[in-house]
């Protein structure tokens, strides 16, 4: 063995350092033993989570809070299969993560060896791309390709499955200087002619409406979005994935559209004559019944992924490109046309704004309060007041997620972290771990339901281990609230398996892990309890008992058009 060779495990760690990896969320196991042995001598930080699924979610939290590639690591077989939900989640929300998994020794592959699973096959559709490395010589190239693919174009998760003999083998380490992916197409600039036509259409529109999504955040194009919104002075909505892309306090920001979107957002979308769709995918939760969606509108659709254009809604003017590149050109074109076009529809545009303001005033998103019980909306309003639009908020999935999205302001991108497309319960808490590692300077709230929290309890140990000052707020309504809401509204109130009858005493639970916890039930204690949580230097677990039967409104029933919103709970009928 020549002295200037390195083990595969060490080569991998060199490669990770070269990619600028600061921190890996992982869990060791049999075939990754050589990797973990090598890790012992390297400065790469490893965060030991308590379940591999949470390693993937934490890596996502890290990536979502920074835009950098998050990294997670698991052993073969069960370790790798446990990552799968987190990978699919990252595909759905276009989050750049690299997952490293160990695989059994090459000559044992296909023999049903101990802890063997076909990770490469299983994760084919759970990733943007995946690799199987059986030859140590390929390792540096594959790792660089993995990071490049994860972060470029439409971001997404990439998995690299590495056999144990590759970790153990010896080779010269030659850093990669160039990769070649002849079939990987990254579109960036956008078509100049199309951009000019888009600007023309924007000025010609009488009732333009900007529909911005997660793609704006992925492209780091928030400033450019703001410039466009102001150049055109059009109303703008941000989707669940796009919240924070335009500051919530911006005068042109309307709120979120869709199933639980605001009245003004959905009415605006229904009555506009021009949708300016930026980094969105016309998701069913936004459009409602597709053939009734925005019936009067032409569509300008800008996206980095050509497969999104025209997928759900025909684009009258498609632009394939990176929003950070396309938006400034659009703004420049708008400004060039402004002198001749500004007055064209000035009057109708004024009326349009007037109409939007009326819709906003008619049914604003406002937090209900009660004297006798804590309304969940009230809880979100209190958190909003503490955050002031600047804290990181990770949510789990369900009612609390929708109320958070409706009522907590986000004045910057990358503050609102939630599982949008896949809707994975158990996401919120581990995502907060990744976010807090990425942004130690930030106040991080992890708002979770009593259901999702119980999927993530083991990670309290990780939080304590690293003294992460995460404020875990359990919105506890004793139910799987969103499922209960649907059973109530659409299944004759037959509440089947949605009551979470027992819940741990959080003071004891947090105490058992060695940090502070408290339950709050009374309205007049809510505000001080939240302040106490925020003022605590370490982690804090606050269990907030909220009214158990509150439902999220507005709501567009499944299959409904988005202007057919149910705006408030049906009133009891006297019999």
């Amino acid at each position: 063995m020549s002295s200037n060779t390195l083990s595969g495990a060490k080569i991998l760690l060199h490669c990770l350092q070269r990619e600028g990896v600061e921190c890996i969320f992982g869990y060791p196991g049999g075939v990754t033993l050589p990797l973990y042995d090598a890790l012992y001598d390297y400065p790469v930080k490893h965060v030991l989570v308590r379940h591999e699924q949470n390693a993937a979610f934490a890596a996502q939290g890290y990536a979502r809070a920074t835009g950098k590639v998050g990294v997670c690591c698991a052993t073969s077989g069960p370790g790798a299969t446990n990552l799968v939900t987190g990978l699919v989640d990252a595909v759905m929300d276009s989050i750049p993560i690299v997952a490293l998994t160990g695989q059994v020794t090459t000559k044992l592959m296909g023999t049903d060896a101990f802890q063997e699973a076909d990770t490469f096959g299983i994760t084919r559709s759970a990733t943007k791309h995946n690799f199987l490395v059986k030859n140590i010589q390929e390792l540096p190239r594959v790792i660089h390709e993995a990071f490049y693919i994860a972060a470029s174009g439409r971001p997404g998760p990439v998995l690299v499955d590495i056999t144990k003999d590759v970790f153990q083998g010896q080779a010269q380490y030659t850093p990669v200087t160039e990769i070649h992916l002849p079939g990987y197409k990254v579109y960036s600039e956008g078509h100049g002619g199309q951009i000019r036509r888009a600007a023309q259409m924007m000025w010609e529109a009488e009732r333009p409406f900007i529909y911005a999504g997660g793609g704006v955040i992925a492209a780091e194009a928030s400033e450019q979005l703001r410039a466009l919104v102001e150049a055109l002075d059009a109303p703008a909505v941000c989707t669940l994935m796009g919240l924070g892309a335009l500051p919530a306090d911006h005068p042109n920001f309307i709120s979120m559209p869709g199933m639980h979107g605001s009245y003004a957002a959905n009415m605006g979308m229904t009555h506009t004559d021009l949708i300016i769709a930026l980094g969105v995918r016309f998701d069913d939760r936004v459009t409602g019944r597709l053939n009734a969606f925005a019936p009067h509108a032409k569509v300008i659709h800008v996206d980095v992924d050509p497969a999104e254009i025209g997928k759900n809604r025909h684009a009258d003017l498609p632009i394939v490109g990176n929003l950070a590149r396309v938006l400034p050109k659009l703004v420049a074109e708008l400004k060039e046309l402004e002198p001749s076009m500004r007055d064209k529809n000035a009057k109708t545009r004024q009326q349009w704004w007037q109409q939007i303001r009326e819709w906003k005033a008619e049914h604003p998103l406002k937090a209900e309060k009660s004297d006798s019980e804590i309304k969940p909306q009230h809880l979100m309003a209190e958190i909003d007041a503490l955050s002031g639009g600047r804290a990181i908020v990770t949510a789990d999935v369900g009612q609390h997620q929708m109320w958070s999205a409706q009522l907590i302001r986000f004045n910057e991108p990358r503050l609102w972290i939630n599982s949008g497309g896949l809707g994975s319960m158990g996401f919120g808490l581990p995502a907060a771990i990744g976010a807090q590692f990425a942004r130690p300077d930030k106040l991080v709230f992890s708002i979770v339901g009593d259901g999702g929290f119980q999927m993530s309890i083991p990670e309290l140990a990780t939080i304590v281990n690293h003294a992460l000052p995460i404020k875990i707020i359990v919105m506890n309504n004793g139910h799987l609230g969103m499922v209960r809401q649907w059973q109530e509204l659409f299944y004759n109130n037959r509440l089947s398996q949605v009551e979470l009858a027992s819940f741990p005493d959080v003071e004891k639970l947090a105490g058992a892990y060695g940090f502070k916890g408290r339950t709050v039930e009374r309205v007049n204690e809510l505000s001080s309890a939240l302040r106490e949580a925020v003022n605590e230097p370490g982690p804090y677990l606050l269990n907030v008992k909220v009214s158990p039967f509150e439902n999220v409104f507005p709501m567009v029933p499944a299959g409904g058009a988005i202007n057919e919103m149910v705006l408030r709970p049906p009133q009891p009928v006297e019999v």
């Binding site: 084919r124 660089h144 079939g183 960036s188 600039e189 497969a307």
Partner: protein, 181 residues
């Protein structure tokens, strides 16, 4: 109606699975699939015949083009393209029918690739409908066995293949690649 898709892809493990996965995840059944390397041994040419609803055909092609191992996916259903298939037919003959079988084979320009006392193996190429007819005719002579290759397609379009150039380390993707046509 069947859709014919021609793909140029990297000759790498898993590449086939990625392409077929896009079809199987929607529950589409592949009618035929052929794949073999091209002049450049690092690349493969694949032809897939599959019954995809007309409304999502363009979407399927776009998603195939998104695959990192796929250099180009093209819908060649409407042409211009040459679509050919090969069939091997094993037909049992007796002394009386041998001449007749050979005569029929000649009409279809089929070749005898094996001849024994029991019968022949015939090889025919052509479009799928022509081969269907050939098989029907042969069946009238008794029990037959067949193996079809599936359709192989050659596009006659002069569309230029655009490949991404090599990417130097540290370059932002946007600085390296500009493929917008």
């Amino acid at each position: 109606m069947q859709q014919i898709i021609s793909l140029l892809m990297e000759n790498k493990p898993g590449a086939l699975m990625r392409v077929t996965g896009l079809l199987s995840q929607r529950g589409y059944n592949i009618e035929s699939l052929t794949v073999a390397r091209t002049l450049d041994a690092t690349l493969s040419r694949m032809t897939i015949v599959v019954d995809v609803e007309a409304s999502i055909r363009a979407q399927v092609i776009k998603q195939m083009n998104k695959l990192i191992n796929v250099l180009q996916a093209t819908d060649v259903t409407e042409g211009p393209a040459v679509n050919q298939e090969l069939v091997l037919v094993r037909v049992r003959t007796n002394q009386q029918s041998r001449t007749a079988v050979l005569k029929e084979a000649e009409i279809f320009h089929a070749r005898v690739v094996d001849s024994t006392l029991e019968g022949f193996v015939l090889e025919a190429t052509g479009d799928s409908e022509k081969l269907d007819e050939f098989i029907d005719v042969m069946r009238s002579y008794g029990e037959i066995e067949i193996t079809r290759s599936g359709v192989v397609s050659m596009s006659l379009d002069n569309r230029k293949l655009k490949l991404s150039p090599p990417i130097p380390r540290g370059a932002a993707p946007e600085e390296v690649l500009e493929l917008q046509s």
